[in-house]
């Protein structure tokens, strides 16, 4: 090997090293910035529709030249947050042709919202259809449809569930009496009730030991941040005993982050954004002719669109 070649290889190695270092620095900055968002209460926006004042700028991708749909959607999300809440129209688009049925969205949702056993916001329906040899299999992720005409809200005896200023159907955990009328009314089965279970409920108590139930379940007791409010699982405090549902991760959206299911979708099958922004990816997608919505005949006007 000649000296020139050695030098070139050495330069390449150095360049790679520096690139890697910059990448790591970028990632560290990204993490640090993210930490700032989630830890700084000032950055959590009010849910009453006030325009976003402190929405952070989009985190640049590590290598600086690669933009995928997630980054585009984040840019659009930040843009949408600058508008008054009433002018945003959050929608979700799920490309069924890209969904591989990995259930990553389901799991990320469980992790993000710290869902206990028996509570699920976004299952992926796995259907086999046809008769041999003409058979097929399809996966249909099913979040809350955030209907514009929701059948679940008028049945609530105490107005605990309602469409907020941004058109997202919320549950006021402190108001909900746990009658489950909204569960029965939802045509999509998109609500579940929290019966107060924990994954470690059957772990032996073994007080004082690391393996004991009190230690094991401590991670289950930490607060989630649904609707921007910290709610540790304690005693019979809400959301235990309440109806629960997908809320398009509003607590993330309000700090400029996409819903957990969107960022973790390995096939980029789930898209999210403001359909009132004509330049947004979701607006582009829902204008395509192969868009369907579930049970459209019921007149519920779902905000979840499927590309088939």
């Amino acid at each position: 090997m000649s000296d020139a070649n050695i030098k070139q290889e050495s330069d390449l190695t150095r360049r790679n090293f520096l690139r890697g270092l910059m990448g790591a620095a970028g990632a560290a900055t990204a993490i640090a910035t993210y930490e700032t968002f989630v830890n700084d209460p000032q950055l959590v926006l009010a849910q009453d529709g006030t325009p976003a004042a402190d929405v952070p700028a989009m985190i640049a991708s590590a290598d600086g030249d690669h933009f995928d749909n997630v980054e585009r959607m984040r840019t659009e999300l930040v843009r949408a947050l600058q508008k008054p809440a009433a002018e945003r129209r959050w929608v979700m688009v799920i490309d069924l042709r890209k969904c591989v049925g990995c259930h990553a969205c389901t799991i990320s949702c469980v992790a993000e919202n710290k869902l206990p056993p028996g509570v699920v916001y976004r299952p992926v329906l796995d259907e086999e259809w046809g008769t041999y040899p003409n058979v097929g299999r399809r996966f249909i992720p099913r979040p809350c449809m955030q209907c514009d005409n929701p059948p679940c809200t008028p049945v609530c005896p105490v107005n605990a569930t309602f469409k907020n200023g941004e058109g997202i159907v919320e549950v006021d955990y402190d108001q909900c009496i746990g009658c489950r009328a909204c569960l029965a009314a939802c045509p999509y089965g998109a609500r579940t009730a929290d019966f107060g279970l924990t994954y470690t409920g059957t772990t032996p108590i073994a007080a004082g030991l690391l393996v004991g139930q009190d230690k094991a379940e401590s991670y289950e007791r930490v607060a989630n941040y649904e609707y921007g409010e910290a709610r540790p699982r304690e005693g019979h405090e809400s959301p235990i005993g309440n109806a629960r549902k997908c809320h398009f991760c509003l607590h993330r959206v309000h700090v400029g982050e996409l819903p957990a299911c969107v960022t973790t979708c390995i096939g980029r099958a789930t898209l999210y954004g403001d359909a009132n922004d004509a330049d947004s990816l979701v607006a582009e997608m829902i204008a395509s002719p192969n868009v369907i919505r579930l049970k459209e005949e019921l007149g519920t006007e779902p905000r979840v669109y499927y590309l088939a």
Binding site: T106, P117, G118, V119, V120, P123, V124, L125, D126, E127, I140, R142, P151, P154, V155, C156, P157, V158, N159, Q175, C176, I177, G178, C179, R180, A181, L183, A184, A185, C186, P187, Y188, G189, R191, T192, A193, D194, F195, G196, L197, H236, S238, I240, G241, N242, A243, L294, L298
Partner: protein, 383 residues
């Protein structure tokens, strides 16, 4: 062996046993919440909601029967009004305890009174049954004070209560019927049939009460008329059931067909065929049609109880099967976990609570007719 005294004693013993069995359920429910129930997020309502519909129906039905005495002044039924009102007064709390146990946050029930959404059928029902409870109480109070008279004020009040009893018993049907997502419930007939079912269950309870606990001169004729009324009401009920099921099966709408098939041939077919149809309908009709059997006070009383058991099962057969049909294909397998199933049979804790409620209502009724002065001094009530 079959004396009124023995029957009352037997009912006291059964009531006490039921309450004792209920202690476990109440303790579990009140201290550990809803962890041990078998209903869940898909079968959202279970035994307690079915029993709420049942007891609420019995309460409004009993009130309807009381109007024969206090509103329509039918001489034959003179003296039965108080008993019917007392029966309504003990079954209504049973209904409210049942539905209260079903709430995830029962301590927040006050919100339905102070922060209600009146567009919600549930809120309307909470208010309706609360007002109805007051109406029953005041009706009984006025009736007791009026003794053998039927003053205009009593008639007006009982008339208002009569209309209210029809509306609120229909309302519980509407509570289910307004759910457009459940094809089998979402029929105009559903709320319309509930007042008929309520009347039938009220007549059945009053038949049992008259047969077991009264000694008036009119007792045999009252028993006969109530028996014939029950036969007619059971035939109407069966016809409604037939029209409902046949229409659903004929139309072939999958959600309807699945729910009806579940009732007829599902895992709990026996609850329909054996309890609701055989015990709750066919046997009572046969017994009450044959005069010799229908005039036997104990047999007639037992028929009243059987009809009530049949109606309780009928309520369950309305509530559960509609919820056991998934809203979307693949939901049953999509995500598994506790309370995420489409099959339902009440848990031990649910049965225990229901036993306790039945026991409490039974004991309250018996203690009332034994201890309350207006029953104690009444010539009609057997000692």
């Amino acid at each position: 062996m079959f004396t009124q005294k023995n029957i009352k004693r037997l009912l006291y013993i059964l009531g006490i046993i039921a309450v004792v069995l209920g202690i476990f359920g109440f303790y579990n429910r009140l201290f550990f919440g809803e962890r041990d129930v078998n209903y869940g997020s898909y079968v959202t309502w279970g035994l307690w909601v079915a029993m709420y519909l049942f007891f609420a129906g019995v309460a409004s039905g009993c009130y309807m029967v009381a109007t024969l005495d206090y509103l329509f002044d039918v001489p034959l039924f003179k003296g039965t009004g108080k008993l019917a009102l007392w029966a309504a007064l003990v079954t209504l709390p049973a209904a409210l305890i049942s539905i209260g146990m079903d709430l995830g946050h029962m301590e927040r029930i006050w919100k339905v009174y102070l922060q209600p959404n009146f567009n919600s059928l549930l809120a309307q029902m909470v208010w309706g049954y609360t007002i109805f409870g007051v109406v029953i109480l005041v009706s009984l109070w006025v009736a007791v004070r009026a003794k053998d008279n039927r003053p205009l004020g009593l008639k007006v009040f009982v008339g208002v209560g009569f209309v209210l009893s029809i509306f609120i018993s229909g309302g519980v049907g509407a509570l289910l019927g307004v759910n457009a997502s459940r094809a089998v419930w979402h029929v105009g007939l559903l709320p319309a049939q509930f007042p008929i079912f309520s009347l039938a269950s009220g007549v059945a309870l009053v038949l049992a009460i008259v047969s077991f606990f009264t000694n008036s001169a009119n007792r045999a004729r009252q028993q006969r008329v109530l028996g014939i009324a029950l036969v007619i009401l059971l035939l109407i009920k069966t016809y409604i059931l037939w029209s409902d099921f046949s229409m659903s099966l004929y139309s072939g709408v999958p959600q309807n067909v699945d729910a009806i098939t579940q009732v007829l041939y599902g895992e709990y077919w026996w609850a329909f065929w054996l309890v609701q149809i055989l015990l709750g309908t066919i046997i009572p009709i046969v017994v009450l049609v044959i005069p010799r059997w229908a005039q036997n006070r104990y047999l007639a009383g037992v028929m009243g109880i059987l009809i009530l058991v049949g109606f309780a099962s009928a309520r369950a057969n309305i509530v559960f099967p509609a919820l056991t049909v998934p809203e979307l294909g693949g939901m049953a397998e999509a995500f598994s976990g506790p309370h995420l199933g489409f099959e339902y049979f009440p848990s031990l804790m649910e049965w225990s609570v229901t036993m306790g409620i039945v026991g409490l209502a039974t004991l309250a009724f018996l203690l009332g007719i034994d201890r309350l002065p207006f029953f104690k001094d009444s010539a009609e009530v057997a000692r």
